[in-house]
C-alpha cells in the first residue's frame, strides 16, 4: 500500500566510510531504533542517487534522529517538527502524523527519495484515522533490509496527546466509581457501568424520598409529636448524641468497615464527658 520505505535508491551517503552509529546518530536511542538504523545502514548503499541532496541526506538523517531521539520527550518532537527543514520535514512529518498506536518501521531514512514529498499526504490520512481503533500494519515487503518494528507507546501529536490524557483520566474515574458501586466490578464496558451508576443513583434518590415521606408521617403523628417536642432546648444535645450512636452503630453493621473502630469510643467518650 505504501511505497517501500527503504529501497536501494533511498540511500545515497555522502561519505560511505562514516557509517558508525555514533556519528550519524548522536542522540541516545533505544535498542530497537539503533538496531533498525544499523541494519539499514549496513546494507549496501548504492551510488545511484549521488546528488546534491547528499548533504541534505545527512542532514535529513540528523534531523530524523533529532526527531526520533526526541520522541521520548514529546514536546521536543513537536518543536523539532516545526523547525526542521523541508526535506526532513516530510520524513519527520510522517512520524508526527502517525499516532502512537501504530507500528512503524524503523529504517535509516525514509524519505531518502529526492522529492520526499509523496509521503505526508498518505501518512496524514492514516494519522487522521488515529481515532479509529484499527491499527494499520504496514506491509512488510521482503527486502534486503530487516525491518524492525517498534511500537510507539506515546502519541506524538499534541492533540492526540491531550486527548489521550483526557481519556485516561476519564477511565481512571470510571474505575474509581466501579469500586464504589456494589456489583460493578464484574461489569465490563463503559456503557454498562454508566447504566449501573445511573440506576444506583436513581434508587438512592428514591430511597431518600421514601424515607422522607416516612419521616413526615412520623413527624406529624400524634404519638411522636410530643416525643420530639419534649426536649427542652437546653438539653437538645442529648438527642443528636443518641441518634449519632445509633447511626454509627448501624453504619458499622451495614458497612462492616473495620478501619475506624476507635472513633465510636472517642465520640461516646466526648459526649459523656460533656454531660457528666
Amino acid at each position: 500500500m505504501d511505497p517501500p520505505l527503504v529501497n536501494d535508491s533511498s540511500f545515497s551517503p555522502a561519505n560511505p566510510s562514516s557509517y558508525t552509529l555514533s556519528e550519524i546518530w548522536p542522540f541516545p536511542v533505544n535498542d530497537a531504533v539503533r538496531s533498525g538504523l544499523r541494519l539499514a545502514v549496513n546494507s549496501t548503499p548504492s551510488d545511484k542517487d549521488v546528488s546534491t541532496a547528499a548533504a541534505a541526506e545527512e542532514s535529513t538523517v540528523t534531523d530524523l534522529t533529532a526527531g526520533w531521539g526526541g520522541r521520548k520527550g514529546r514536546a521536543l518532537n513537536s518543536e523539532e517538527d516545526e523547525s526542521s527543514k523541508m526535506v526532513s520535514l516530510s520524513s519527520s512529518g510522517n512520524e508526527v502524523k502517525d499516532s502512537g498506536d501504530k507500528k512503524r518501521k524503523f529504517c535509516g531514512s525514509e524519505s531518502g527519495n529526492g522529492d520526499g514529498s509523496i509521503r505526508p499526504e498518505g501518512e496524514t490520512s492514516s494519522g487522521g484515522g488515529s481515532k479509529a481503533t484499527e491499527q494499520k500494519n504496514k506491509p512488510e515487503p521482503p527486502k534486503d533490509y530487516i525491518h524492525v518494528r517498534a511500537r510507539r507507546g506515546q502519541a506524538t501529536d499534541r492533540h492526540s496527546l491531550a486527548e489521550r490524557a483526557r481519556r485516561e483520566k476519564i477511565s481512571e474515574k470510571m474505575t474509581a466509581l466501579q469500586d464504589i458501586i456494589p456489583g460493578c466490578n464484574k461489569i465490563i464496558g463503559k456503557a454498562l457501568v454508566l447504566d449501573e451508576i445511573i440506576n444506583y443513583i436513581q434508587s438512592l434518590q428514591r430511597q431518600v424520598e421514601f424515607l422522607s415521606m416516612k419521616l413526615e408521617v412520623v413527624n406529624s403523628g400524634p404519638s411522636t409529636g410530643p416525643t420530639i417536642g419534649v426536649f427542652p432546648t437546653g438539653d437538645l444535645g442529648t438527642l443528636p448524641i443518641d441518634l449519632h450512636r445509633n447511626i454509627y452503630e448501624q453504619q458499622e453493621a451495614n458497612e462492616s468497615r473495620g478501619s475506624h473502630p476507635e472513633w465510636l469510643h472517642m465520640q461516646v467518650d466526648g459526649s459523656f464527658n460533656r454531660t457528666t
Binding site: 474515574k173 466509581l177 436513581q202 424515607l211 422522607s212 406529624s220 443518641d242 476507635e262 472517642m266
Partner: protein, 154 residues
C-alpha cells in the same frame, strides 16, 4: 440512662486523637441540621400543615448544608434557597437524540448522569465524574441517617 453511662465507660478508649472520618463528620452535620429543623417543623405543626414538600425540602437542605465542600452541595443549596418551589424530580426523562455510535450512547448516559447530579449540567465530564463519586457516597450516608431517624422516632 446511668446504666448506659456506666457501660459506656467500661469500653476501651483509644489514645489516638480524635480522627473523624468524613462520613461521620457528614453524618453529624447532617443530623444536627435535620433534627432541629424537623423539630421546628413539628412545633409549627399547629400553625401550618406539614406537607411532603417541606420535609423533603428540609432533608435536601440538610444534605446541602453538610456537603458544602462539594460543588454539587453548593449548587443544591443555591437551588433550595432560591425559594423556588420546584419539585425535585429525580427521574426526569428527556428524549435525547439517539445515535447508534458507541460513543454516542456513552455521551447520552453521561448526559443522564448530569441530570441526576445537582449542578451537573454546568460541569464538564471529568469534574462530573469525580463529583458523582462522592455524591453517591453522601447519598448513602444520608439514607442511613434518615433510616435511623425514622426508626428512632417510631
Amino acid at each position: 440512662m446511668e446504666r448506659q453511662i456506666i457501660s459506656k465507660k467500661k469500653q476501651v478508649f483509644s489514645v489516638e486523637p480524635t480522627k473523624l472520618s468524613p462520613s461521620e463528620v457528614f453524618t453529624r452535620k447532617y443530623t444536627s441540621h435535620l433534627v432541629p429543623a424537623l423539630k421546628k417543623l413539628n412545633m409549627d405543626k399547629n400553625s401550618s400543615q406539614i406537607n411532603q414538600v417541606t420535609v423533603k425540602h428540609e432533608v435536601d437542605m440538610a444534605l446541602a448544608l453538610s456537603a458544602q465542600e462539594f460543588a454539587w452541595g453548593r449548587f443544591l443549596l443555591q437551588k433550595l434557597s432560591s425559594a423556588d418551589s420546584k419539585s425535585s424530580s429525580s427521574n426526569q426523562t428527556q428524549i435525547l437524540e439517539r445515535s447508534n455510535d458507541e460513543d454516542g450512547e456513552i455521551e447520552e448516559k453521561m448526559k443522564e448522569l448530569q441530570e441526576l447530579l445537582p449542578g451537573g449540567k454546568e460541569m464538564n465530564v471529568e469534574e462530573m465524574l469525580s463529583e458523582i463519586g462522592n455524591y453517591i457516597k453522601y447519598l448513602e450516608l444520608q439514607t442511613s441517617a434518615l433510616k435511623t431517624i425514622v426508626q428512632d422516632t417510631t
